[in-house]
């Protein structure tokens, strides 16, 4: 196990253009499951590839286990990586795929069988060892890729969107399996994804990236409940946070905190007239979309997420409210979080 640290890490692909990764500073914890979350083009994969040694940083430092690794090749960094496409060697059997890192790192050949079987049994692929990758399903391939990564007991695991090639149902099962796997081996893991649900569910902490810049670094609860800026506020959560401009502020609240006024028990609350324009029934909850009427926020589109228990009709205006403690405040120009303050509605 080891700690990964980056110091002012920057990658510029074309000189004169904005960097794909800009001055990223972060430190993982021992055995942590860290998630890089961001939309495509946010620099999360570039950041991971720099840590892996597949991409040379333009400037900055990378440390693994306290050792500067900038000048080290991928194989000298004691890392293992699972690619989005799994990158299994198509001409080798599962056994030989898993044994390849052992051979490459000159592990004595009498240990290969034992280690391969250990890795295969850890991932439940013991019966597939003589198959070729093309004879495996997506989920099985992912497990082989993981087995190949674990077999030489790396200090750090790097996973680049390993679930994105699986169908939705399998993805959920594979996610749980990955979590269990991480708990069992306890190796420091960096996981790249654009899926906020995956990030929230799996990450001990999340690094939210956009345009090569770290927007927020914190636990899933911190980034969800207390977003650092409007990007994080809208990127996490589905439906995203409602944002309303009010004087020199942007005020935000989560759709699940926007409820019928009578159900909001807090005394400090902001009341809104909510004209419902669309109702989506999702089985366990409603998603209501509509506009606010009256006051500063007149005509603004907002979304509410409500549990069942009340029926809503399109075209009717209801009295809704948000408890003041659930309001988030951002600066209008920087879009960064600011302290709560009293505003008139």
């Amino acid at each position: 196990m080891a700690v990964v640290e980056t110091r002012d890490l920057t990658k510029v692909f074309k000189q004169g253009e904005l960097g794909a990764v800009n001055n990223v500073n972060l430190v993982t914890r021992e055995g942590e499951f860290l998630v890089f979350l961001g939309p495509s083009g946010s620099g999360k994969t570039t950041l991971l590839r720099m840590i892996a040694g597949l991409e040379q940083p333009t400037s900055g430092e990378i440390l693994i286990g306290g050792q500067l690794v900038n000048h080290l090749s991928p194989r000298e960094r004691r890392i293992a990586m699972v690619f989005q496409s799994y990158a299994l060697y198509p001409h080798l059997t599962v056994y030989k795929n898993i044994a390849f890192p052992l051979k490459a790192q000159k592990v004595p050949s009498n240990l290969h069988k034992e280690k391969v079987e250990w890795a295969a049994s850890l991932l439940g692929i013991g019966s597939l060892l003589h198959r070729k990758p093309r004879e495996l399903s997506g989920g099985e391939r992912q497990r082989v890729a993981l087995a190949r990564a674990i077999v030489r007991e790396p200090a750090v695991f790097l996973l680049d969107e390993p679930l994105s090639n699986l169908d939705a149902k399998l993805r959920l099962a594979a996610r749980e399996e990955l979590e269990r796997f991480h708990r069992r081996v306890g190796t420091t893991t960096i996981y790249v994804t654009h899926d906020q649900v995956e990030a929230m569910a799996m990450g001990d902490r999340i690094v939210v990236l956009n345009k090569g810049v770290v927007r927020q670094f914190g636990t899933p609860k911190e980034v969800y409940d207390d977003p650092a800026d409007t990007f994080v506020a809208t990127f996490l959560g589905s439906p995203p946070m409602n944002l309303l401009e009010n004087e020199d502020l942007i005020v935000g609240f989560r759709p699940e905190h926007f409820r019928l006024a009578e159900t909001v028990t807090d005394s400090a609350k902001v009341l809104f007239n909510f004209h419902v324009e669309n109702v989506e029934y999702l089985g366990a909850e409603f998603i209501l979309a509509g506009t606010l009427t009256g006051g500063i926020a007149e005509g603004k589109m907002v979304i509410a997420r409500l549990l069942l228990g009340h029926s809503f009709e399109v075209g009717v205006t209801y009295q809704f409210a948000v408890a003041e403690r659930h309001l988030k405040y951002f600066d209008c120009t920087t879009e960064k979080k600011v302290e709560a303050r009293a505003v008139a509605w």
Binding site: L54, R75, Y89, F100, P101, A104
Partner: protein, 315 residues
Amino acid sequence: MVNADRRKDAFPKPKPAKIKSAGAAQSPMLGAAMFAPAALYILLLIGTPFVLALYYAFSDARIGSSGLHFVGLENFRSILQSPSFRTAVKNSVIFTVVAQSIVICCSMMLSTALESRFRGRGIIRFLVLLPWVAPMALGAIGWKWILDSIYSVITWFLVWLHIFKPYGAPMWLGEPKLAMAAVVLVHCWRLIPFSTVIMLAGQTAIPKEIPEAAAIDGAGFWRTFFQIKIPMMRSIISVAVLFGTIFTFTDMTVVYILTAGGPYDSTQTLPSLAFATGIQGSDLAAGAAISVFLVPVLVVVAYLMLRVAHRTEGA
């Protein structure tokens, strides 16, 4: 039931309108018509000479003689006894094996070099491909000058470097071993670009993540090259080898222009011997019999090519 039938007759169903294009696509006539030019081409330009060669090989055909008699295996018996023929068979095999080995190694190296990004890659790729685009005869004549006994640039350069004395330099095309080496060299010069292009296609077809995964797994350049890249390129390498074998084994331009098979048959190959005997020596029957000896080799190569193609399709 009867009523129902009657009712049906009373209102006959309109016949489905014929859609011309769809109907035509299914017609066997159109298929045959589309296939005919290819079949005709093969029949006239490949089939006829082949059958004619077989026919001549069992006859006493000579240029200038109108009579033609069946002589059985006589031509084969006589060429098998001829030392020139045995030399030609040996030379053909050496020529093909040596040239192909060099071509495959060099084109593999070149394609690996040309796959990585660097400034001017486009121009280098173009230059590498140039020998393949230039007409063969032109290239061979150029090489004949480069290796000429009097005007050779190579000799001039070696003399200038004081490696050889003037008039003491080797005769590139005049000494048996050097002449064979020269023929092999020119053939390599000609085939390396073609082979490189095929290999380059094979290299670019390997997903980028595979060598990256190998690098992370701890494999160095050579292990990745021999244990990952080459096995993944097996089909495409086979294609390059098989095409190259056919081009080399059947080629006579290089030998004919550079050495005309000399000195003392030391660079004579089967195609050049067939040409020298059949056309230049007027013994059509013997020439045909020599060229017929190429057939088994080419049949084996063609069979292997089809197998590779089939396997690639299956994968």
